[in-house]
């Protein structure tokens, strides 16, 4: 937990492990019904996540830079309480600790997977949207 009044703890956990645990000033993520913004001392909230890019503005004391962090979140839950945001993602790709090649590989792999899926299915549209977001994440890394 953080002592400063304007910052909160932000944690991202996925099946691949803990991807982020830092102090942040502000974070926005995509919930099941739209975008949610969080600042310090947010009310306790439990919400289901959708597919989208999460943006985290880390506290300067933590990273010594004011660069925003981006992560692609695909489903899961956000648990906000005690000045802490826990993102429990079903699948997540982070931009700051991942090589560009890996994201490119993920895009290629999902494009291959799409070949066997019907174009009218929900899975197809979800995957197409995810690919577009991965490309956006890739462009954010430049």
């Amino acid at each position: 937990m953080t002592d400063s009044p304007n910052i909160f703890r932000c944690v991202i956990i996925s099946p691949a492990g803990k991807l982020l645990d830092c102090s942040a000033i502000c974070a926005t993520f995509i919930a099941h019904d739209g975008s949610v913004g969080v600042m310090s001392n947010h009310m306790p909230m439990l919400c289901e996540l959708g597919l989208g890019i999460m943006a985290i503005e880390p506290a300067q004391t933590e990273t010594k830079t004011d660069r925003k962090k981006f992560a692609l979140i695909d489903g899961g839950f956000a648990l906000i309480h005690s000045n802490m945001v826990n993102i429990i993602a079903a699948d997540a790709v982070i931009s700051w600790d991942t090589k560009k090649e890996k994201i490119e590989y993920l895009i290629e792999r999902s494009k291959k997977k799409l070949k066997g899926v019907s174009e009218v299915s929900e899975q197809y549209s979800h995957q197409v949207e995810k690919n577009a977001l991965l490309e956006k994440l890739l462009s954010n890394m430049d």
Partner: protein, 297 residues
């Protein structure tokens, strides 16, 4: 005593067995390490999910959802996770004994038991014992890499909600440590039992002074439970599969190590036998030469 040629043939065979078992042992070691890292990484995810689960089931007013209620359909389902490949000691035997106990319990209670299995070596044993699985799912490696786990989770949740089954458990080899693995059945449905199971495994259940009623839920509790159930069931199946894969590779590592040691001992014995036979042959030939030379004199 066998002839020199036979001894050499046997030694060559033992050497090729040693090479194969050593390679298989190395492959299993690499896979074991890879699954071990994945399992360690997934532990935090498991803890986080069980915390949300705990929060939902400890609400002052119980949430009315079919997955949190018990139903009396008089039919249970058990998924048996056998080894994907052979040569792993008594791994599948332990699972067969556990399945026998389930069958015995079900018949004692007068219940129907549906057996499901992953594509594994266990299928041969089941067919020998005339147990026909209701459905066979892809093996562990394929399930963990693809959408197999999603399909399983959806199948059993739908069956439970429809009232076709009142219990769903996974019989698998649980990995406690590198020196301890035991067969056990993890109850997946009803969901309350699964959450109860998960919370007993976690390091910290819910260390905060805040209860379920303080949270703003989006969407409402019924919908959250629906999404959470699918996520927890899917994750629990994945953890069971990971444990099973870890135990399988560990069992194979141990089996291959002892097979390699046995082959090495056999090679040593055969080498000694070969040396004795060869020395005997040399002595024999020398005696022939000496006696021939003596005759010529």
């Amino acid at each position: 005593m066998a002839g020199i040629r036979q001894i050499l043939q046997r030694r060559r065979a033992a050497e090729s067995i040693r090479r194969i078992t050593r390679t298989m042992g190395m492959v299993s070691t690499a896979k074991y390490k890879s699954y071990h890292n994945k399992r360690d990484a997934a532990a935090e995810y498991e803890n986080a999910l069980s915390q949300i689960g705990y929060l939902l089931v400890t609400s002052q007013e119980p949430i009315d959802h079919p997955l949190l209620k018990e139903n009396k359909s008089n039919c249970s389902a058990v998924l048996v996770v056998g080894s994907a490949r052979g040569l792993c000691g008594s791994y599948n035997n332990h699972l067969t004994h556990l399945l026998d106990m389930h069958i015995k319990n079900a018949s004692q209670l007068g219940k129907k038991l549906d057996v499901y299995a992953t594509d594994s070596k266990l299928l041969n044993t089941l067919s020998y014992r005339k147990i026909k699985p209701q459905k066979t799912y892809p093996n562990i490696d394929e399930s963990l890499g693809g959408a197999g786990v999603d399909e399983m989770a959806n199948d059993f949740i739908e069956q439970y909600i429809a009232g076709k089954i009142d219990y769903f458990g996974i019989a698998y080899m649980r990995y406690y440590s590198a020196s301890s693995q035991k067969v056990q059945t993890l109850t997946i449905l009803p969901l309350t039992e699964l959450i109860d199971n998960l919370t007993t495994r976690t390091t910290a259940i819910w260390p905060y002074d805040i209860s379920f009623e303080d949270f703003y839920l989006s969407p409402e509790a019924f919908e959250v439970i629906k999404g959470l159930a699918l996520t927890i069931v899917r994750a629990s199946i994945e953890f069971c599969f990971m444990d099973a894969a870890l135990s399988e590779h560990l069992a194979r590592m141990v089996a291959m190590r002892s097979a390699t040691e046995n082959a090495e001992n056999m090679i040593k014995e055969l080498t000694n036998e070969y040396n004795v036979a060869r020395q005997g042959q040399i002595t024999c030939e020398l005696l022939d030469i000496v006696s021939g030379t003596g005759d010529l004199k």
